[in-house]
Amino acid sequence: MRCPRGRGAQWGNAQGPPKGTTGGRAMSWRKQKALQIHQALTSDPIDIDALRNAAVSEGGLLSQEIRRKVWPKLLNVSVLSLPPKPGPSIRCNHRDFNQVEMDVRRSLRRFPAGMPDAERSVLQEQLTDMILYVLQSHPELNYYQGYHDIAVTLLLTVGPRLGTAMLSSLSTHHLRDFMERTMDPTKHMLNYLMPVIRCESVQLHDFMLRSEVGYIFALSWLITWYGHVLSNYHQVLRLYDFFLASHPLMPVYCAAQMVLMREQEVLRGDCDMPSVHQLLSNIPKDFPFETLVCRTHGLFQRRPPAQLVTQASLHKYKSVSIASFHSLLHSSSSQRPDFVLRRQADPEPGALAPPRSQNRLVKLAVWGLSASLGAAALAVTQSALEWGPEILLGLF
């Protein structure tokens, strides 16, 4: 199975991450990918296609440091126009406040094990604020249980303010259908599940239909992007890289692919609703997520939604999430890199440049990289150094 390289960006090492080779070579593959992400972030306008490719292709976005830079770009969120810090008024009489609070209070498992209680409580407060801010600023949106699982992943990766901005963008795009007054639009999305499975395996499709398992086993997968069901945070992040860069139906394709990868297991089991529901709900701890992402991407290319829509149950409904995705793709293609935005926001020269000593360190780092990687690294420009050296430093 080849991994998606996608259009556009060619990762320096066309073979992808070398499997089972020495740590040294694996490391250099990661470095090259990080460097290419860095270049995509610093070209003007940013190379959004390359960023999407990086998020989908093997290894995803590699590190939290890189995610902090790339995730906002995937949703066309500018780091310089963030929502204000929320005041206490945000909690006043919102219709969903109680439900949000109950769910956030019970979200302990989403925080890293071993985090001190005091620290976690602060984050939980921030989580509630993030959610309520978005709900207050979009009265047409309705909270659903599971929304908090998405919000917490954003919070833990990009922090509360960027997280709020991203949550806001997600809520009017990918998650929009889940936030209607009823869950009918969500059901509509789930209606794609069985047809996708049928395209790949009629036998599995028919077995599942006979069992009457329905599609509710995949509900929490879809509306939390698996954040609710996976206890391994790295797996969650890998999927978020993928979904943030993809079509809103991608989580449904992912569900289909996951079921397909477990086909033999399903067919061996009993053909009744509880058995199949139970089997599919328990995702094995060692499930190969990298392969899952890779195959899901291929499945989506092979059986795009437009092809499935010809089926009666799918075409009568207009999905806002799907419709708005195209405008998101369009608008996100003209983003300026952060260093330009910063310069525009504060034209005083040098105000935001890293302190000299750090700058020298970065130059050394880049020099070291160039020596070990060759020409690719030379493309790191002076502007990139101004823009922020964290990613490069993160490589060492």
Binding site: L108, D184, E212, D272, R302
Partner: protein, 228 residues
Amino acid sequence: MMSAGPSGDEVGLESSLEASITSTCSFGPSRARIFKIIVIGDSNVGKTCLTYRFCTSCFPERTEATIGVDFRERCVEIDGEKIKIQLWDTAGQERFRKSMVQHYYRNVHAVVFVYDITNMASFQSLPSWIEECKQHLLSNDVPRILVGNKCDLRDSIQVPTDLAQKFADSHSMPMFETSAKNTTDHVEAIFMTLAHKLKSHKSLILSQPPENTVQLNSGAKTTFPCWC
């Protein structure tokens, strides 16, 4: 008569209990009868804790919001007969119950309504839960019971017992107050009572549907030729 094992009061029994009560049952070749029970009620009343307590004899320290429907099961023996009790733990938020939970009402043998005795609103929602249940159940004589949870929180009672009892009487349901947290409150006995009732319920068809009856589910009502 109830031989489903100890109720978990004694701390020392905890580990052996876990060994004898497994979440998935294997009764060997003889197919056990299956009782399907759906558990419904407002969010946060403790449905997940109650079902977890019954199936594992433990109180879960960290529950999370239920999204959609979770499934738990436990095998018991009643009057020498092996029975598999399947519990469908549903999401409490209204939007889920309005469109997602119906699928699970079909073919259930009993319904457990849960409210939180420290939360009046959860009690006041019961009529709408009951109404909804009536609409979805296939038959009228499906046994139903009412459970008031969290009775360990004695200082914050909002729903008086006699009020709840009256309500239960008016709907001809047995009523229990219990606590999923407190081991002495015999959550197990409540579910076992229900199981006994089901066992003696004559109109009940409790075997699995034969493999060859094909019933299409609501999610994918029609089969299409594949256009791919």
